[in-house]
């Protein structure tokens, strides 16, 4: 269950010792557990699913059962050093709202999401079917995802909303992609901030 995910290490590299981290959609708390063990962070997870809330508590992390669609109104401006949302952005309706909120309550935001323009996905569409893959495991009729976008789309959205991209990494099924991420990466991992 708490197998170390490939993006954890990349995320951990962006986070300093003892910093404060909010993980939105924290699942079973594995990332925060990893960050607590390796970086000594003060971490809080947000999770809506009761089973994940239980698993996070068992994992020894702080978890708050909040529905992300209701926003982060309870959190103070700039309280967190980092706000992480791993593989959840595509499942939230209010995309701009949540990104704005992440950068309100945190100095930095880290988001990862499946890239719909990944070449295998393009191939699936060319073959006439919606893509199903490791990072898009659901069928079109039962997917929890509500926003379908690409790395290029996300970069455009950041530019339109004055969100600064401080770092970006593409992964192809767990391996770092060096070039053409919008074509070769199945997953995009972004480190975001605001102009000072």
């Amino acid at each position: 269950m708490s197998k170390l995910r490939y993006d954890f290490q990349a995320i951990a590299e962006w986070i300093g010792e003892g910093e404060t981290v909010l993980d939105l959609g924290c699942g079973d708390g594995s990332l925060l557990r990893h960050l607590a063990d390796t970086r000594g962070v003060l971490g809080y997870g947000v999770e809506a699913d009761p089973e994940n809330v239980k698993a996070s508590i068992r994992n020894g992390i702080n978890v708050l059962q909040i529905d992300l669609e209701r926003g982060l109104a309870g959190f103070e401006d700039g309280f967190f050093d980092h706000v992480v949302m791993s593989f959840s952005l595509q499942a939230i309706h209010n995309t701009i709202g949540i990104l704005t909120e992440m950068l309100r309550v945190g100095h930095e935001a880290v988001v990862s999401f499946p890239n719909f323009a990944y070449w295998r996905h393009r191939q699936a569409i060319l073959n006439g079917h919606m893509p199903v893959s490791e990072n898009l495991p659901h069928q079109w009729y039962n997917t929890p995802n509500v926003r379908f976008f690409t790395i290029a789309d996300f970069e455009d959205l950041c530019a339109m909303n004055s969100i600064v991209i401080r770092d970006a990494i593409g992964f192809d099924e767990g391996v770092r992609v060096r070039e053409e991420p919008n074509f070769l990466a199945s997953v995009g991992l972004f480190r975001l901030g605001r102009e000072h």
Binding site: T20, L42, Y44, P50, V53, K54, A55, S56, I57, R58, G60, I61, N62, V63, L64, Q65, I66, G74, F75, E76, F79
Partner: protein, 379 residues
Amino acid sequence: MTQPQSVGVVTPRTQRFIEPLLLTSGGRLEEYELVYETYGELNADRSNAVLVCHALSGSHHVAGYYADAPDNVGWWDNLVGPGKPLDTRKFFVIGVNNLGGCYGSTGPTSIDPATGKSYGASFPFVTVEDWVASQARLADVLGIQRFAAVVGGSLGGMQALSWTLQYPNRVANAAVIAAAPKLSAENIAFNEVARQAILTDPDYHDGDYTAHGVVPERGLRLARMVGHITYLSDDAMAEKFGRSLRHGKQVFSYEAEFEIESYLRYQGKKFAGYFDANTYLLTTKALDYFDPAFEYGGNLSAALSRAQAEFLVVSFSTDWRFPPERSHDIVQALLHNRRSVSYAEIDSAAGHDSFLLNDAIYHGVLSAYFDRIKVTAHV
């Protein structure tokens, strides 16, 4: 995983305190007794003690049953026992009847040593803070310097929260369930209706009903009926009673016709048969007065800055007496202070009463939290 079991036969104990207790109200108790029960065994380094604080009508009888009254099962028996969320194979669990109560601890029905008669209405006002102070003295007697956890629902949750503020170094974990950092005006209003029902009962006799050989039964019944309405949710009431008629048709009478009327009358009558009216009055006032942020100009974050414990905060979706928003207030104030806190909002139809019920997700959350508390194993 073994099947959850009862702690079995339990026996209450009484501890006498001869050092006077100064109360928040300015009053004092020269001497007093606390009645309590314990479940499980205190480990060698005394690190596994858990205090369970009770709500308005609760008592020290948290779990198990009495040898001479096997049907008298503790009010949180579904939570406390071998294999249950508060596992008595791991923890030494303590239940205490609060001061001013009517289950054996010194209260309005006790004899005032100064007069030789029962305190009645002269029993001093007691607050959540006073209860916690008296519980701390019991902990001293039992040799418990620091609780692994202090746990409570509703008014009991207020005590758990207050413990972390009054004795920050004596509480490792606090489970604050279906509670609030203060009552709302609406809540105080309901309490006031309940109090007026008792205070205006002709049998109340300014609180000295015992001397008159009566009890203000009508007032107590009404108080309990009002209370019961607020402990349930609209949905739960609709599901349990709906508009069901006892006679299957309208009979145009003030007898209990609708099932909900019958239920409330039954609950009221039962309660009036065992609960003390002065205790009810005192306890609702303790609820109303609780507001740790008051002396901080209403700033709850400032009030909670003293807390050192790790927290579990739990609320229930249909609880309108202590709604999730009040738990959010506690969580946000703890977050502001960078305290460890987890928060679960349990989807439940049963309203405020949910905290007493055996819901799988609710108990799963409690198990997950209590399981992770580290105590020295029994030798």
